[in-house]
Amino acid sequence: MIRCLLFALLLLPAGRAEILDRIAVTVAKHVISERDVVLDLRIAAFLDQKPADLSGDQKRKAADRLVDQYLLLQEASTSRQQLPTAADAQQLLDQVKAQYATETEYRAALARFGVTEAQLSDHLLNGIRALRFTDLRFRPEVQLSDDDLHEYYDSMAAQWRRANPAQVPTFEASRDQIEKLLTDQRVTQALDRWLGTTRSETQILYKEEVFK
C-alpha cells in the first residue's frame, strides 16, 4: 500500500495542480461535491460488484439521487419521527460483510473500490433513514378502496394470464400481495410528487463542468 502511494506521488509532477474536490451541485446552501458524487458511484459499484462507471451521465444520475436524498433527510430532520440509527446501519453492514468469505477479502474489496468502511456505513445509514422516513411520511396518505384493488388485480391478472393462463390466482387469494404492491406504487407516486414540488421550491444549481 505504501509502495503504491509513493509510486503515485512520483507520478505527480511538481507544480501541476490536481483538483482534490469541487462543487458539483448546490441545494440551497448545501454542497454536494464531486467527491460525494464519485463516492456514491463507487459504493454503488461495490455493492453491485460491477465496475464503477464515472461518466458524466452516471455522475448526473448519482447527483440527482444525492439531491433527492438530501431533501428527504432535511425534511426528516424537522420531523419528530423515530428514524434508524447507526446500530441499524451496522446490521446492514454485517449483511454486506457476510457476502465475503473472510474479513480480509471484504477489506480488499473496499480498497479496490476506494471506499472506507465508515463511508459505506454512512451511505447505508442515509439510505435506510430516507427509506424509513418515506414510509412514515407517505404511507399514511395511501388509502386503497376495494375498487382500486380490483382494478389493479385485473391489470395484474391479465399479465399473469398471458404468462401462464393455468395459474392465475383468484382476487381473494392474491389480495394481500395486490394490496402491498399497490401501496408501494402509491407511496412511490406520492414521493415523486413531493420531490417534484420540493425541488421546484429549492434553489438547486448543477455545475455543468463536473458532468462533462
Binding site: 503515485a8 511538481a14 501541476r16 474536490d21 454542497v31 460488484q49 439521487r65 446492514l92 476506494g114
Partner: protein
C-alpha cells in the same frame, strides 16, 4: 424514484458469485487519496483578493499550513466557504512544492442585485411597477440567467399598458468590491396604442352603445362623448371592465360576468380592439318580508352584493347578518329565514322572511363573581352597552356581541394568571318584571390565580440578565399566563434581533413550583451567530447630497446588525420628505457570514409638486364694500381658488421652496416659503424664511394690503415642548376705511413694523385633533422696536391655556383661556389698526361673527379692534348617536378691549358706545367624526350681544356729519360651521 430502494434490495439479493468477478477498473483509481496525510505547506486563494478578510477565511478552513491534510476536510472547507454565500463556485486543488503540499482554493464570486436604473419610462407603468415586475430584489443573489425572464416580465407589463412594440435592453455592471450587480434597463417604449372599438360577445340586455360608454374607453367627459378613443392602459382596461360589470349590477344582474376575451392589436394603426365577453346572468331579486329593510342596508348585510355570486353559504351569512342587525336594533328575538327560487331562467328570487315581535331595551348588565377586577374595569372592555339616551336608545346587544365580550373578559383574566377563568351569561327577557326590558347577568368564575415561583433564563449572557429581567412581564410572584410569556418572547427576541442576532430562537418550559398554584418557568434562548454591519451601501442618489443621507443612517461598520436601527434609518430618510421610496435590504440574506452589507435603495421624489384647490366660505362676510351697510356683516358667499407649487429637495439639501397662492372675493394672498427642516443637521431644528403678500377684506372695517418678510427658527425640545424664534418685518397699507380717516389719522396710516418674537408651546394632549385629556399651552411674546426698522414700537403678549378632562369613558370637559395684550412703548401715540387684535367667531367667542368682537367706531359701528383680549370657553363634549356623531354644550365669554385697563367682566352693556364688558354666549353644537377630524356645526345664543350705532349715508355725508345714526346689533343667534374641534 425510490432511488435507494434498488441499492438496499441489491444488498439483500446480491448473488454470492459476484465476488469472483474482475472488479479492477481504471476509473476506480483514487488519485486524490495520494494526498491524504501529506504536510500542507501553504494555502493560497485564487484570486488572492477575496471578498472576506484572510483571517476570516482561515477560520472557515479546517486545514492549516503545517498540518497534515485530511481529504474529508477539503469537503468541509468547500461547504463552509459556500455557506457564506460569497462564492458561486469553489474548487480546491493541490500541487507539490518541495516536500510539502500547496493547496489552491479557486473561487468565483457570487453577485447580488444592487442598483436598478431605468431610462425611457413612459408612465404607466411607473418605475416601481417595472422594477417589481423584473422580480430582481435588492440584495438577493444574482444569476445571469434571470435577466431574460426579468426583461420578459417587464415587456409584458409594457404591453399590458399599450406599448405593444416595447423593447428593453439591459446592461449589467458587476462591482467586485461589493459583489453587487448594477442593472440598467434601457426602455424603448414606442407609441402607446389607443383603443379603436369594442367587440361585444355573449348575452346582455343593454345596448352596445351604453356598454361602450360605460367602459370610458371612448374620449369624453362625464356623460358627453367626443370623437376618438383613449390610450389603452392596463388600469383603463381593468376599470372599464369593472364599470361595465357595475352597470349590470345596478340592474340587479349581480352575477354578471364581464371578461376580456382578447385584445386584438392592429399594427398599422397602432390600435387595440378589446373583445369583451358578457354574461349578464339572471336578475337577482333580494326581497324582505315581515319588515322593511332599506336597499342600502340590504347591500351592506347580504354578502351576495359584495361577492357578486349567489350560493347557499352567502345566503346563510346574509341571514346571520340580518339577525345580528335586528338584535342590535333591540329586536333580540328576531328570526330570519330565507327561500331562493328560480321562477325563470332570467330571475333568481331570494326572499328573506324576517320576524321580530317586540323591541327590547337592554336595561342592565350585571357582573357577578368578579373579585380581582372591578366591575368598571370589566365593563369598559365590553362592547355590549345598556340603553342610554340618546346615544343608545335600546342599548347595544346581540348574542354575538355578548359572546365576543365574554371571550375578551376571559382573555383578560387568563392574561392575569386566572388559567381556569370562565364566564357564563344569563339573559332575562323580562327584566325586573318589565315587559320589553332585557337584563344580562355575567357570572365570572375566576378560579385560582397562578403565579410564577421562579423564572430561569438559560442561554442568556450574564450581562444581559438584569436588563432583560426588568423588561419581562413574567417573574417571581408575577401572574403566570401564556399571554405574558408570548409578550416576553417578543421582548427577548426583539432585544436580540436588534443586537445583531438575526437567528435567535426562544423556547420555554414550565414545571410545578413550590406551593399551590405556583409554576417554575424556564426561558431558553439560543442567540445564534452574531452578525455585524460590514458597510452601508447607498444607491439612487442623483441630486441629494450624500452627507444629508449619511447623517440619517445610524448604522456604522462594525456595529451589530440591528433591524430596529435599519428601520429607524429608513424612517429618518422618509422624514426628509424627499424620497418617494426608501428600500432597505441586507445583502446576501441567507449567507452564513459574520459581517453583512446593509443596502439602502433610494428613489428621489419628483422635484416639483403642484396643488390646486377650490372652496368657498359661507359666513357673515358680506355687506356693501363701499357703503356703511351691515357693520356687523351680512351673510356672504366667497368662492376661493388656491394654487401651490413646491420645489422639493432644493440644492440637494432636502430643503423646500414653495409658493402658495389664494384668490377669493375677500382675500388675495401669495406666500413664498423656504423651509429647511432638520436645519444644519439638527433633527430638532427647522428654519423657515417666508415672504407674504396679502390683500384682504376679511375685517369689515377696512381693506388691508400687507407685505411681510419673516424668518423663523423652530426648536422641538421634546415631544411636548417646542420653541419658535421669529423675526418679521411688514408693511401694511389700509384703504376703504369705513371710518373717517380724518378722525383717526394715526390709526390708519401705512405703517412698517419690525418685530422679534418667540413662542413657547407645551402640548400634552392625547390627540391634537380630538383631545380627550391633557393640556395645551402657548405663550407668544413679541417686541417691535426702531432698531428692527419698525415705525411703531410696542410689545405684544398672547397666552393660551387649554385643558381637557375626561369624565368616564366618553365625556370630556374642555376649557380654554386666551389672554392678549399689546403695550405701546414708542412711536406714534396709537397702535395702528392692522396690528390691533380683531377676534370673535368660531374659535374665540361664538357670540360674534368672525372678527366682530370689541370696540367699534361710534359713528359707523364698524369694528376697531383692540389692544387687549380675554376669552374663556368651556365645552362639554359627549357622544350623541352611535360612535361618529357627538354633541357639545358650550359657554363662551370674553371680548376685545381697547386697553388692558378696560377689561371688565361686567355682564351688561351700559350704552350703545360701551364695549368694555364681557359678552356671554351659550350654545349647542354637533361634531361628526371623519378621518380628517370632526366636522363642526355650532349654534350660539348670546343674551348680551352688543348693540351699537350704525351710519346711514355716504362717505361724504359721514365726513360732513350729515348722515343718520341708526341702531345696529350683533344678532343674538349665531351659526358657525367648520372643521376640527374649537380648541
Amino acid at each position: 424514484m425510490l432511488v435507494f430502494l434498488p441499492l438496499l434490495i441489491g444488498v439483500a439479493i446480491a448473488p454470492p458469485a459476484w465476488a469472483q468477478h474482475d472488479l479492477q477498473n481504471d476509473d476506480l483509481k483514487n488519485t486524490a487519496a495520494a494526498y491524504e496525510g501529506r504536510l500542507v505547506g501553504r494555502i493560497d486563494f485564487d484570486p488572492p483578493d477575496q471578498p472576506l478578510p484572510r483571517a476570516q477565511l482561515d477560520q472557515l478552513l479546517p486545514m492549516h499550513a503545517g498540518a497534515s491534510l485530511k481529504l474529508a476536510d477539503v469537503h468541509t472547507a468547500i461547504q463552509n466557504l459556500y455557506q457564506t454565500g460569497r462564492f458561486e463556485s469553489i474548487s480546491i486543488s493541490a500541487f507539490n512544492e518541495g516536500s510539502t503540499l500547496v493547496l489552491k482554493i479557486s473561487t468565483e464570486l457570487s453577485y447580488f442585485v444592487g442598483r436598478i436604473t431605468l431610462d425611457g419610462v413612459a408612465e404607466p407603468p411607473n418605475r416601481g411597477q417595472l422594477t417589481a415586475a423584473s422580480k430582481l430584489e435588492l440584495g438577493t443573489p444574482f444569476a445571469d440567467n434571470v435577466m431574460e425572464q426579468a426583461v420578459q416580465n417587464m415587456v409584458e407589463r409594457m404591453r399590458a399598458n399599450g406599448f405593444r412594440n416595447a423593447n428593453i435592453d439591459y446592461k449589467v455592471n458587476r462591482v467586485p468590491a461589493t459583489e453587487e450587480v448594477d442593472i440598467h434597463f434601457d426602455i424603448r417604449a414606442g407609441n402607446r396604442a389607443r383603443f379603436d372599438g369594442v367587440t361585444l360577445t355573449g348575452k346582455f340586455d343593454r345596448t352596445p352603445e351604453s356598454i361602450v360608454h360605460a367602459t370610458h374607453w371612448r374620449r369624453g367627459f362625464l356623460f358627453l362623448t367626443f370623437p376618438g378613443w383613449r390610450f389603452a392602459t392596463e388600469s383603463r382596461v381593468a376599470v372599464g371592465l369593472e364599470s361595465v360589470r357595475q352597470a349590470f349590477q345596478k340592474g340587479d344582474h349581480l352575477e354578471a360576468q364581464v371578461t376580456l376575451e382578447k385584445l386584438d392589436y392592429h399594427e398599422k394603426t397602432n390600435t387595440l380592439t378589446p373583445t369583451v365577453a358578457i354574461d349578464h346572468g339572471p336578475i337577482v331579486e333580494v326581497r324582505t318580508s315581515g319588515t322593511k329593510v332599506s336597499r342600502g342596508k340590504l347591500k351592506q348585510l347580504i354578502p351576495v352584493f359584495q361577492e357578486r355570486t349567489v350560493d347557499r353559504t352567502l345566503l346563510v351569512e346574509g341571514q346571520r347578518n340580518l339577525v345580528e342587525y335586528f338584535q342590535s336594533q333591540g329586536y333580540f328575538d328576531a328570526a330570519v329565514d330565507f327561500t331562493d327560487a328560480r321562477p325563470s331562467t332570467d330571475v333568481y328570487a331570494i326572499d328573506y322572511s324576517i320576524q321580530h315581535n317586540q323591541r327590547y331595551r337592554l336595561a342592565s348588565i350585571e357582573i357577578t363573581g368578579n373579585k380581582f377586577f372591578s366591575t368598571a374595569t370589566l365593563r369598559e372592555r365590553m362592547y355590549v352597552t345598556p340603553a342610554k339616551f340618546p346615544r343608545f336608545r335600546y342599548g347595544r346587544y346581540s348574542q354575538k356581541l355578548l359572546e365576543r365580550d365574554k371571550e375578551t373578559l376571559k382573555d383578560l383574566y387568563r392574561s392575569n394568571g386566572f388559567r381556569e377563568a370562565a364566564l357564563e351569561s344569563k339573559v332575562d327577557p323580562n327584566h325586573r318584571g318589565k315587559n320589553g326590558e332585557l337584563g344580562v347577568v355575567l357570572e365570572v368564575k375566576e378560579g385560582p390565580q397562578w403565579f410564577v415561583y421562579k423564572l430561569d433564563l438559560e442561554g442568556v449572557p450574564e450581562s444581559d440578565i438584569p436588563y432583560l429581567r426588568s423588561t419581562l412581564q413574567s417573574g417571581t410572584d408575577e401572574p403566570f399566563s401564556e399571554a405574558n410569556i408570548a409578550a416576553d418572547r417578543d421582548t427577548i427576541l426583539s432585544y436580540y434581533y436588534n443586537n445583531g442576532y438575526p437567528d435567535a430562537t426562544f423556547d420555554w418550559t414550565q414545571t410545578p413550583g413550590a406551593g399551590a398554584n405556583r409554576v417554575n418557568l424556564k426561558y431558553t434562548l439560543r442567540p445564534g451567530k452574531r452578525v455585524y454591519v460590514r458597510s452601508v451601501l447607498l444607491h439612487g442618489l442623483e441630486t441629494t447630497k450624500q452627507s444629508l443621507v449619511n447623517n440619517r443612517i445610524t448604522l456604522n461598520p462594525g456595529d451589530p446588525l440591528s433591524q430596529q436601527r435599519v428601520a429607524a434609518s429608513q424612517q429618518k430618510l422618509y422624514d426628509l420628505g424627499i424620497f418617494s421610496k426608501v428600500q432597505t435590504a441586507i445583502q446576501n440574506p441567507s449567507g452564513d457570514e459574520d459581517q453583512k452589507y446593509v443596502l439602502f435603495q433610494l428613489d428621489e421624489a419628483r422635484r416639483y409638486s403642484f396643488t390646486i384647490g377650490f372652496g368657498a366660505q359661507l359666513a357673515r362676510i358680506g355687506g356693501g364694500v363701499t357703503s356703511f351697510d351691515d357693520p356687523a356683516g351680512s351673510t356672504g358667499f366667497s368662492p376661493r381658488v388656491s394654487l401651490g407649487i413646491s420645489r422639493l429637495n432644493f440644492l440637494g439639501l432636502g430643503h423646500t421652496v414653495s409658493l402658495n397662492t389664494l384668490v377669493s372675493t375677500i382675500e388675495q394672498r401669495a406666500i413664498l416659503t423656504y423651509l429647511a427642516p432638520q436645519f444644519i443637521g439638527h433633527e430638532k431644528l427647522s428654519l423657515t424664511v417666508s415672504g407674504l403678500f396679502d390683500n384682504a377684506n376679511d375685517i369689515r372695517t377696512f381693506h388691508q394690503q400687507r407685505a411681510e418678510g419673516s424668518v423663523q427658527l423652530a426648536q422641538r425640545v421634546s415631544r411636548q415642548y417646542t420653541l419658535q424664534y421669529r423675526f418679521a418685518i411688514r408693511h401694511v397699507t389700509i384703504s376703504d376705511l369705513k371710518i373717517s380717516s380724518e378722525l383717526i389719522p394715526l390709526l390708519s396710516q401705512p405703517v412698517r413694523v419690525g418685530i422679534a418674537s418667540a413662542t413657547f408651546i407645551q402640548d400634552r394632549r392625547d390627540d391634537p385633533i380630538n383631545s380627550h385629556r391633557g393640556i395645551y399651552n402657548t405663550v407668544d411674546i413679541g417686541i417691535a422696536l426702531p432698531q428692527f426698522a419698525s415705525q411703531t414700537d410696542f410689545t405684544r403678549l398672547l397666552f393660551r391655556n387649554s385643558t381637557y378632562h375626561p369624565i368616564g369613558k366618553d365625556i370630556v370637559i374642555a376649557r380654554s383661556l386666551q389672554f392678549g395684550y399689546i403695550q405701546r412703548i414708542g412711536g406714534p401715540p396709537e397702535i395702528p389698526l392692522a396690528e390691533r387684535w380683531f377676534s370673535g367667531g368660531s374659535t374665540s367667542n361664538r357670540a360674534f361673527p368672525d372678527n366682530q368682537a370689541g370696540p367699534r367706531d361710534v359713528e359707523t359701528g364698524f369694528p376697531l379692534g383692540g389692544n387687549a383680549l380675554l376669552f374663556h370657553s368651556t365645552e362639554l363634549r359627549f357622544p350623541l348617536i352611535g360612535d361618529n356623531l357627538g354633541g357639545v354644550l358650550f359657554h363662551d365669554m370674553g371680548n376685545i378691549y381697547d386697553k388692558i385697563q378696560d377689561i371688565n367682566l361686567r355682564f351688561r352693556q351700559r350704552n350703545l358706545q360701551d364695549f368694555d364688558y364681557t359678552v356671554q354666549s351659550v350654545g349647542f353644537g354637533v361634531r361628526y367624526r371623519t378621518p380628517i377630524g370632526p366636522i363642526r356645526a355650532d349654534f350660539s345664543f348670546s343674551p348680551n350681544a352688543p348693540r351699537f350705532f350704525g351710519f346711514q349715508g355716504t362717505y361724504q355725508q359721514l365726513i360732513q356729519n350729515q348722515g343718520v345714526l341708526t341702531n345696529q346689533k350683533i344678532n343674538l343667534f349665531q351659526f358657525h360651521f367648520s372643521l376640527g374641534q374649537t380648541y
